[in-house]
């Protein structure tokens, strides 16, 4: 498998990474190098072997349904690039208008 220019552009768009046109050829080479490296794994015969997606064999830990968390409104919002903390309408994260 190898990626072409369109694949790289698409991956960049999906990841919201701005990729200047002149950077694309180098990126194609680099990404294809990574894919080639990983492709070595395909030499292993895995016929009849269940895919292993995790290395630990333990049950999923679960918790009880209890509210046990302080109100971190101030702290959580303090990290936002922009927040409306005047609070006349409540305290919100603020982002450029995204209307569909």
């Amino acid at each position: 498998m190898s990626l072409n220019q369109d694949d790289v552009k698409k991956v960049a768009r999906l990841a919201r990474i701005k990729l200047p046109a002149e950077a694309i050829p180098a990126m194609i080479t680099e990404l294809n190098g990574i894919i080639k490296f990983v492709e070595q794994l395909q030499e292993v015969d895995t016929k009849g072997v269940e895919p292993m997606v995790r290395v630990v064999t333990m049950p999923l830990p679960m918790r009880d349904d209890r509210v046990d968390y302080p109100n971190l409104q101030r702290e959580v919002l303090s990290n936002a690039q922009e927040a409306d903390i005047a609070g006349n309408r409540g305290r919100y994260f603020v982002v450029p208008k995204v209307v569909e």
Binding site: K10, L14, R16, V53, R54, V56, M58, P59, L60, P61, M62, R63, D64, D65, R66, V67, D68, Y69, N71, L72, Q73, V76, L77, N79, E82, D84, R89, G90, R91, Y92, F93, V94, V95, P96, K97, V98, V99, E100
Partner: protein, 500 residues
Amino acid sequence: MSLESAMAIAAEPQDLIEGATGKWEIVIGLEVHAQVLSQSKLFSASATAFGAEPNSQVSLVDAAFPGMLPVINRFCVEQAARTGLGIKGKVNPVSVFDRKNYFYADLPQGYQISQFTQPIVTGGEIILDLPEGQSKTIGVTRLHLEQDAGKSSHDLHATKTFVDLNRSGIALMEIVSEPELRSPEEAAAYLRKLRSILRYLGTCDGNMEEGSLRCDANVSVRKPGGEFGTRCEIKNVNSIRFVSQAIQYEARRQIEILEAGGTINQETRLYDSARGETRAMRSKEDAHDYRYFNDPDLLPLELEPGWIESLKSALPELPDARSDRYVHDYGLSPYDARVLAAEQEFSAYYEAALTSGATVQRDPKIVANWMTSEVFAVLNRLNLEISQSPISAAHLGELVDLISDGTISGKIAKEVFQAVIDGEGSPREIVESRGLRQVSDSGAIEAAIDSILAANPDKVAEFKSGKDKLFGFFVGQAMKATAGKANPAMLNDLLKKKLT
């Protein structure tokens, strides 16, 4: 169920839409998002309460701070499994959480934790209650657990969107139907029944206004029995009525395009309830490559078959079983049975009215009639919920007792019913205080009849010469003479005897 069998399902003839080129059939599949009625979120211990101050119920997990790890809420798993069992689905002993990747301002993680290839529940069915006691079974493809996103408000500022993450991370059950619905009415019936089941189970409050139950509709049209057409998805419609309206509009829009020689673009559309139309939101092929993969933060969800069995045996009686019981045990019509079983609160009231304070067995049909006609009419008129009913279930039962034992007639009972609504006391008290006890003393009734007959010799003669209609006149007069309290059956019998 396979796509082929879904395709084979035909619309009822009256549900076909007449276009310029002939009849069209609507094909609908619904995706319902139901918030699990839990105290805390699916993967964090912050609260889920509706209406809290924005961003006051946000943990570092919900806000996707680096390094935070999700820990699943056992109760949410249990509710999803119970819901699956309630719709007769198969709860899978192993299911897996995946990341659905997309960027949006109210999704801080940049992905939604969901279940893609291995959902917690596979299969299931919803039985639609259709008019005239008809029903139709619709297949459910799957139910899976996932996180809700935050809430964006676009109307608080001219150039900005405001984001509240209180909803971020609340557990959702996404319930997907097979594309087997064929009319807006069937879609509405599907939602009503699903909502009823969720509320019986207590797994979701079903509140569409507050968004704890949301519906996306996939709509396409085809020539009857033909191949499925290209579908559009109508997002987040927030009432059952709007879902019907949106489907109706969307089907007509697609038919117009197709009949004009155009093609349907597969896209997501938004229903504008103010304008009664759908409009394009975003084009699917561009933004939606979700790149699902197993969430490495979460191990597979493994459920013991014994545990699943114990949940199954502890399920409450659900609406279909309850309405069947009303039909078989109580002799109600399927229609009345379904109305009473549709809401848990209705059937609780009904069953209380049957038994509360009863010394003799009450006739289930009479109680059902009083409830579906008089009680519902009052609730409608006063715009009240059944829990706020101005006549208690026990009082309705008492009223039925008074009719059954002959203390009052059905006609007087309506007067007593109104007096109870007006707060004058219990039916028994009202009958006593207003002196409404039915006259079942044959001597008293006979005396009333005799005086009526004596005062109207001409009418008696007319009746005897064949004017049968006058019988009603005598009944009316005798009733009037007894202030409406004469036992109607006795009055009829006695009058017949006197006139022959």
